[in-house]
């Protein structure tokens, strides 16, 4: 009934081709077929954001996209952000601000924040809160996360605390 199909994605700069059942989500394709473990399964409803990856530069829920839908696209995940070599300024800000506690929301949070910052517009703390409200965190109360993004956004008021 379900024929396998071949999906090629550029994942963190490398072309990866995998043949998978057609009902494979992008999240499952990355984790179970391409060994990319940083996007996490949190709810399957697109609510928690733990599976956020960038597809052609825009944040999507990996659990709400079929791999087949985005065949040929460029996908970026957290493990590709710094290529394990040097942290981005956003990652360094997260480190300094204690924005990661248990760390499970962190990959998704960093990807949505990276996409936000790549838009290049100035952001105040309320705009940041509004932009990332689709990514849930249960540990930090978002305080360190908002401050870290504000630090990098250069809105200047990184320190609402």
């Amino acid at each position: 009934m379900s024929e396998p199909l071949t999906v090629t994605l550029s994942v963190n700069g490398r072309d990866v081709t995998r043949t998978v059942p057609s009902h494979t989500t992008l999240l499952a394709w990355l984790r179970d077929h391409a060994s990319i473990y940083d996007p996490k399964p949190g709810c399957g409803e697109g609510v928690c954001g733990a599976c956020t990856v960038l597809v052609d530069g825009e944040p999507v829920s990996g659990c709400l996209v079929l791999a087949a839908q985005v065949d040929g696209a460029e996908v970026r995940t957290l493990s590709g952000l710094s290529r394990g070599v040097e942290l981005t300024s956003l990652q360094r800000a997260f480190l300094e601000r204690g924005a990661a506690q248990c760390g499970f929301c962190t990959p998704g949070m960093l990807m949505v924040a990276t996409a936000l910052l790549e838009e290049g517009r100035p952001l105040d703390r309320d705009e940041i809160r509004d932009a990332i409200h689709g990514n849930l965190c249960r540990c930090t109360g978002y305080q360190g996360i908002v401050s870290a993004i504000a630090d990098v956004a250069g809105g200047g008021e990184g320190d609402g605390r």
Binding site: M1, S2, E3, L5, P21, S22, H23, T25, P41, G44, E45, G46, G49, T52, E58, P59, V60, S61, C63, L64, V65, L66, A68, Q69, V112, D130, A131, H133, G134, N135
Partner: protein, 288 residues
């Protein structure tokens, strides 16, 4: 939380998509943005045998402006609508509604055609289509037809599109000068579906409301127009809009769910309806 296997087909054209729908009937589902379909599949609520991916069909995406109207392709993403300057200039209700849809990830992928076809009874976009009196184009194997909004949503998650049809265009009139718009909703939490949302379009003339359109979502199985309230404010100055708002709840029988009770929904309908009308009056150049 595993999706039941299905056959995936990518349609290259509207005609191909319709032919597949006709062939497989109820066993097939259209996949555009996937932001409504995928959660239902993940939760096992929907198990299609065939999924028809229409996401890369060309020619039915984007915002097209012509003399009196704006046409929006069904595959236009919410995020595009949210940011489009033409939409912002002429259809600020659509921009406002698009901004309230879910979170950024939903807006990146989700499409206006998908949202309207899905017809969630608490969704924002169907609401503004009701107020702006959209005209939809549905395509089937036999050709296309125009569906006025009043005939489009039938009940919960059901529209008048036939099994073999798909939505391709949404056409909205540019209401022009003299019109103002208002949108208010109550949500428990940022990004949720509305508990109740109200949208209003009002035209003033000589300081009174000449025409008012007021709609609600979250109170029935599809968006409703508050015809009694629209009549009640006709010919009245804006500062009487709030007093007349009790008529907005006439005939409504909202339900209770885990987000809010029916009683609460009934209570806030006049509040949101009048706020939307007041904002619309302000936008039209009058003050309440």
């Amino acid at each position: 939380m595993t999706i039941r296997p299905f056959r995936y087909v990518r349609a290259a054209s509207v005609a191909e998509a319709c032919a597949l729908l006709a062939e497989h009937g109820a066993g097939a589902k259209l996949l555009a943005g996937g932001q409504s379909l995928l959660p239902m599949m993940n939760l096992g609520l929907v198990e299609p045998e065939v999924v028809v991916d229409v996401g890369r069909i060309g020619g039915i995406e984007g915002v097209v402006e012509d003399d009196g109207h704006i046409r929006i392709g069904a595959l236009t993403r919410h995020r595009t609508l949210e940011r489009d300057p033409v939409v912002a200039a002429h259809l600020p209700l659509v921009s406002a509604a698009a901004r309230h849809v879910g979170n950024v990830r939903v807006r990146v992928r989700g499409t206006v055609g998908g949202s309207l076809s899905h017809n969630d009874p608490a969704a924002e976009l169907p609401l503004v289509m009701a107020v702006l009196e959209a005209e939809l184009t549905g395509n089937g194997p036999g050709g296309s037809r125009t569906i006025p909004w009043s005939e489009f949503p039938l009940t919960y998650f059901t529209t008048s599109l036939r099994e073999e049809e798909m939505l391709t265009w949404i056409r909205l009139p540019k209401l022009g000068r003299g019109w103002g718009f208002g949108f208010h909703e109550v949500v428990r939490r940022a990004g949720d579906f509305a508990i109740v949302a109200a949208a209003a379009a009002v035209r003033l003339r000589d300081g009174v409301i000449e025409e008012a359109r007021v709609g609600l979502t979250g109170v029935a199985d599809r968006p409703v127009r508050c015809t009694a309230y629209e009549e009640a404010v006709g010919g009245r100055p804006p500062d009487e809009a709030a007093a007349a708002s009790g008529t907005a709840v006439e005939g409504l029988e909202p339900v209770s769910d885990t987000f809010a009770t029916a009683g609460y929904r009934r209570r806030i309908v006049p509040v949101l309806a009048s706020r939307a009308v007041v904002d619309a009056c302000t936008g039209a150049g009058g003050t309440a």
